[in-house]
């Protein structure tokens, strides 16, 4: 039941324990208890809202920065990553395979602001060999949500 609860909440975190209980054929107490346990154990980290900031009129730019790192004794990927993710400008950081080692998503008000952050803060970090920046131009799908108006109903209204 836990996995089913997670799937429901991942899609819509505002689904109430009452609604979940009906869908899964469980009692409200069982569902609330399971959610509480998963919150406490960190399986559920927190609840947040997916916002289309562009629609909300907020000026905002994102860039994907690929970072090549040379780990050295005592300074591994984790240490470099930590020095990067502590900046509030950094939206997310991933360790990846391939030509580059870290994939960093940086948020800023303008392209200039982001470019300066990369040049001054990221590129100059000890252990960082090189960076490659790509600015985000358009979001099509984020965390499983497609960012476009829902398609019209294609079905006939009443069919056998």
């Amino acid at each position: 039941m836990e996995k089913q609860i997670l799937k429901i909440l991942e899609r819509d975190a505002r689904t109430s324990p009452e609604q979940i209980a009906v869908r899964l054929g469980a009692t409200v107490e069982e569902v609330s208890e399971a959610i509480k346990k998963m919150e406490e154990s960190g399986i559920i980290r927190h609840y947040k809202t997916i916002v289309d900031w562009e629609k909300a009129g907020k000026e905002q730019v994102f860039a994907f920065i690929d970072v090549r790192v040379s780990p050295s004794r005592g300074v591994g990927f984790d240490d470099v990553a930590k020095r990067i993710y502590n900046y509030p400008e950094v939206h997310s950081v991933y360790l990846v395979s391939g030509d580059y080692d870290l994939r960093v998503v940086v948020e800023g008000k303008t392209m200039r602001e982001v470019a300066f952050f990369v040049a001054e803060k990221l590129a100059t970090l000890e252990g960082v060999l090189s960076t490659r920046s790509s600015f985000l131009l358009k979001r099509y799908k984020v965390d499983g949500d497609v960012f476009e108006e829902a398609a019209a109903e294609h079905r006939l209204a009443v069919t056998p």
Binding site: Q19, V22, R23, L24, R155, L156, A157, V158, T159, P160
Partner: protein, 385 residues
Amino acid sequence: MKPISKVVHEIPASGIRRFFDIVSQMKDVVSLGVGEPDFDTPWRITEACIYALEHGHTHYTSNYGLLELRKAIADYFVRTEGLEYNPENQILVTVGVSEGMDLAMRAILNPGDEVIIPEPSFVAYKPCISFAGGVPVVVCSYMENGFAVLPEQIEAAITSKTKAIWLSYPTNPTGAVAPREILQKIVDLACKHDLYIISDEIYDRLTYDGQHTCVPMLPGAYERTILLNGFSKAYAMTGWRIGYAAGNPDIIEAMMKVHQYTMMCAPITAQVAAVEAIKHGYEDSEAMIEEYGQRRRVIVKGLNDAGLKCLMPGGAFYAFPSIKDTGLSSDEFAERLLFEEKVAVVPGSAFGECGEGHIRCSYATSIDKIEMAVERIGRFVSKLK
């Protein structure tokens, strides 16, 4: 002009058509009247079809259908049921289960042959029997029995003219699943009286509490059963029109004979898509089925809370609550509900006389819409009291 065919003339117009005409004139209707998945076809299936079209798959296929598809269907039955059909001569790919029904009837019936058919059931069964010159003999299934027909009822309906028994579990419109013991007794009757069995199992995958019983798997059934199935419901592929019939080679050859002169073959586009569906679509369809399973509980609770007695359906995506306590006929109920609360349902009487006193509510629609619809139904029912 001379009159049209008597048989066609005597088939009444579909009870659903009238509702469709009214609903299409209205705005902001929440429809629980749709008999098909609300999901679009999983993208991998659609994409496989686009790719095939771009690469020149635009020709006829074998009358039986693409061998690759028949092999994939045969593999599927071995894997899921341990049931063996030879893809060379025991599987016929049809244009939806609808064509399969028509072919089955035309392949086995002589004028005047009777086919026993439990109702409420899908609207096309009776006309298919009549078009083929047969005589439908209706037996009613009731809410008290979970809408499964009883073997005694079937036995009482058997005459010297009976040729076949038509089964369809899980059932549209009731969502009924017949217990294995009941199906076995019906199969035993078919053996005793040497009858064919037509088993429309299009909703087989949409079974929520326990395992689906595949009729040809039952002892005695394999030789005499025409299994009809397809891709519409489990893979959300209604508009592709792709189904299949499986059975003993003599019956399948007879059905193929009709099919080759009237249909030639099912569209290759849909056959290619179906190959992708049956080989790689399992997880996509599991996700949809899980979702239907959750909606089912929401709608059944909502309808019962609204004051309409409703069983928990074991399969398909329909709830079939009783509206008898309201004092309205199912036609009146559905029409007033539509005009007064803008919720479209289908009157149970559209699925046979014994569907009277019920309405069919499809839960192939989003949970938000289901919640909105049952709230409106609740308001409507409380006004009637």
